[in-house]
Amino acid sequence: MIDVENLCKDYVLKSKEPGLKGAMKGLVKPNHKIIHAVKDLSFHIDTGEIVGFIGPNGAGKSTTIKMMSGILTPTQGQVLIDGRNISKHRKEVVKDIGVVFGQRSQLNWDLRLGESFELLKHIYQINQKEYDKILDELDQILGIKELLDKPVRQMSLGQRVKGDLVASMIHSPKVLFLDEPTIGLDVSAKYALRKFIKEINKVRHTTVILTTHDLGDIQELCERLIVINNGVLMEDGNLSEIVDRIAPYKTLVVEYYDEVAPEHTRCKLIAQDGNVAKYRFMKNDVTAAEIIADLSKEKTIKDVSIEETGIDDIIKIVYGA
């Protein structure tokens, strides 16, 4: 479905020195610096996948998704959608993609929501029958029809996001790109958005590619993660695989009756707070049961629990924080 081959993107950045003197200097002799935002990225995405792009701010994930959707022209390399290069055959290829970009709406602010959809109907040359059908279908997931006559400027952010989701799917694209779709949304709007993505993926087999900072999005939606940092692909695989590879350990939390926590040779005491001690152990080396058995020989245990390594730990590790 999508092939990304040796993708690179450079930006020219004008750097400015601070203060009045710096401003004067910039006027006479501006400083240019080349930033390599994306460096030699390659991967393949199959039809029907939901892929999450994660990485810190400025890691190059927005730049990547913008190149994949035809907005930015790559400095080098290419993006093929169904075998066609999107920057060379933009008008053809974009018929197969839908785009929702965070806070940038494609709805007409001044008019009722329905007008924005009508315009898209003309732009994508959708006939009335198809149009009614898709609108019915999307209405069942999102309940959009009650909003059709409302001017967009009077809508809440959650309602606008619904509008934008419908706008992005109205021409039944094969691929849907979402850049930070849940930013600023309340819980119910987030829920609606995730449900929408899951539904269209299941029913229409739409391939979904999203960038996000929201761990909930990733856990709920993404079977596959692509982790980018400094414009380089750090990890690519499904969530549990990546967790196993980057953080192949779990944390055992033990509560004793006093503040003296015993050590154990096959795990590491990483933290202690009052009666509670935390042990980290490698998953493939030892089981929690063995450790608990050993520890209970030395001290009386009041309570135990196990902390799985979550996606947030992964992100912390990858981001180097």
Binding site: K16, G19, L20, G22, A23, M24, G26, L27, P30
Partner: protein, 264 residues
């Protein structure tokens, strides 16, 4: 208190200098306009030495100095007011311990200081080289010229601010800003001095504030008229300045009260 405004001025100077392209683009555009205007007047004066008591040399000086004044009279206050109303930050802006209109004024001043180096100096040099050296007709009138320019600047700023305040009535002021721009362009003598207009029209325009923004200081500069005439016109200019200031403070207080009551 003054220190705060000085800080705003300094920040604005830096901000104005941040875009070298804007700077050079503006200089090029203004130079083209100025040179076109100079040729325009030369062509009109072909075969005539004096029209409306002014010769072609004085008219060319008028063109160069008008270009320079137009840089001095760039205001941003109306846009700033409009943005603050549209984005709904009016209430918080007005509650700040520093007068927001004072901030806008300081920003405009900062902008102009940046423009002295960026535009006014280049325009003066280019104009002197390519058109003529814009020398003042009667150097003894320099004090009058400077005072009248300062008053012009203030009148221009007050007119802009008052047009901006219309935004508080929730009307989109884009069109009104255009109206103001056209009135200023055509009725202030900035492009064509109103002494070329019929006497009746001149009389009407002398009753409006616009001619006191451009034409009065420019007339003093090229020496059209006598010191007595200048003084009598500057009296009207001063009256306009007082009237507009009173209106401005009146409207400002009304606006603040209205926003306080409605909470923006």
């Amino acid at each position: 208190m003054l220190k705060k405004y000085l800080y705003v001025i300094k920040t604005q100077i830096i901000r104005s200098m941040a875009y070298e392209f804007n700077v050079y683009g503006n200089i090029i555009m203004q130079t083209i306009i100025m040179i076109t205007s100079a040729y325009f007047w030369r062509a009109l004066y072909k075969g005539q030495t004096m029209v409306g008591d002014v010769d072609v040399d004085s008219m060319l000086t008028y063109v160069i100095m008008s270009s320079i004044l137009s840089v001095l009279f760039i205001t941003n206050v109306e846009r700033r007011i409009q943005n603050s109303v549209e984005k709904g930050t009016v209430a918080t802006d007005l509650m700040k311990p520093i007068n927001v209109f004072g901030v806008y004024f300081a920003e405009d001043i900062g902008n102009i200081i940046a423009l002295v180096f960026q535009n006014i100096l280049p325009i003066f040099i280019i104009g002197s080289l390519m058109i003529k050296l814009p020398t003042m007709a009667n150097p003894k009138d320099i004090p009058l010229f400077i005072i009248s320019v300062i008053e012009s600047f203030l009148i221009n700023w007050l007119v802009a601010a008052l047009f901006g305040m219309i935004a508080f009535t929730a009307v989109n002021i884009d069109a009104l800003i255009q109206v103001k721009k056209h009135l200023l362009r055509l009725l202030s003598g900035s492009i064509i001095p109103i002494w070329f207009f019929p006497v009746g029209v001149q009389k009407v325009l002398e009753g409006l504030p616009f001619v006191y923004i451009y034409q009065l200081p420019l007339s003093i500069y090229i020496g059209k008229g006598s010191s007595v005439e200048y003084l009598s016109q500057m009296r009207i200019q001063f009256i306009w300045l007082v009237v507009l200031s009173v209106v401005f403070f009146f409207v400002q207080n009304k606006v603040i009260r209205k926003v306080m009551v409605q909470g923006g």
